[in-house]
Symmetry: C2
Subunit: 207 residues, 2 copies
DNA sequence: GTCTATATCAAGATAGAC
DNA sequence: GTCTATCTTGATATAGAC
């Protein structure tokens, strides 16, 4: 990686501030309800200036999604390197806990589950898809390992488990409970981890 | 209920057709991406005619949501009257199964979890709120009963269980798995019921 | 109540000066 | 690269004739 000139560093910092705002607004209101005017106002620059950095609203959102995936990848790497090495199930729980914490902090840019211009644009974004594949590959590896060692149910297809983990990372139950204001973030996360991995039913005592 | 004139019956039928279209489009694309033009085209009447029946797009969606809740209430009533009376846990599972089936059939009008004009308008809609309360009351009753008889985890607050059931009724995992086209609807529903109530982990054998 | 045609407005994107 | 001012589009909603 070549050294950056002062000018390039300024550019980098400015764009980072933009992506910060987009990330937060995306987490708050979602892609459809977020307006480019809001982003510009939030960053404190004119809308036209935004468009000098990013060609479209979709590109803006894609940048935020890519950075979120980069952070996820960094987190996966930290977990993979942790000593003593946790079991596959513990690794997956740790990932789920981390993503829930990110969401509670209002920093999880959730893409709309329904079809939107964002989804189609992301499906043509190589940088995004590459990172998404990397995350899925690592999780898939742990899922298979957890099924092999008997901790995750082998009756469930691995892809179902993968999709479920993705879905729980932006579970609306988190938001609703936090909005209720009755419980601490930590308590909410532990409950949702419990329902994700053990379900709603009473856990039978292990024999 | 007074007898309806022929004219009034025609009106009723027409409005029912409109709500049908709205319901389907709402399930397909969600509120924000559904346009009134689409609804009009789908019903086969002019947009201005739509606005003679419903004052706004929000009212249109509210009508669909209200009808969906009415169907849920009817389903709850059927379950409540079923003989022999199932256990509370079985009743809750039956509700979850039913709502998942409705969603897979493309007939579940999901409201956006994020704040939108629809959410705020629904919060001021007495007819909607009344039905939502009725549904929640019935489910809440069963949840408490299931916790009392030891089948649902008493460590979880009843409201968390209620929210979770609502969330699973429009779980994106359902849509994604169905889109994959690898599995039958029945199989998908059974898997998701399993993950909802027992979680992802291997179920320990009961002693 | 239904239609065609139109008003209105919000939001994505751009022109052109500096 | 940043700004102000403007273009353009698409979508909600309405006017007014029949």
């Amino acid at each position: 990686m070549a050294r950056l000139s002062f000018r390039e560093q300024m550019l980098r910092v400015r764009e980072d501030a933009i992506v910060d705002s987009v990330n937060r607004l995306l987490a708050e209101k979602g892609f459809d309800l977020m307006t480019v005017d809001e982003v510009a106002a939030d960053v404190g620059i004119a809308k036209a200036s935004l468009y000098k950095h990013f060609a479209s609203k979709e590109d803006l959102a894609a940048a935020a999604m890519i950075r979120a995936l980069d952070r996820a990848l960094a987190q996966l790497e930290r977990l993979r390197a942790s000593q003593p090495q946790p079991s596959p199930l513990e690794l997956l729980k740790a990932v789920a806990r981390w993503s829930m914490q990110v969401q509670l902090a209002g920093e999880m840019p959730s893409l709309p589950s329904q079809n939107s211009s964002l989804r189609t644009s992301l499906l043509h974004n190589a940088a995004y898809l590459h990172r998404l594949t990397q995350v899925s590959d690592q999780l898939g590896e742990w899922i298979l390992a957890a099924q092999s060692d008997g901790s995750l149910d082998t009756a469930l297809p691995p892809e179902l488990i993968l999709f479920t983990l993705y879905a729980r990372a932006c579970d609306p139950v988190l938001t609703v409970l936090k909005a209720g204001g009755q419980h601490s973030d930590e308590q909410i996360v532990e409950w949702l981890l419990r329902t994700c991995f053990q379900g709603l039913m009473t856990t039978p005592a292990k024999s």
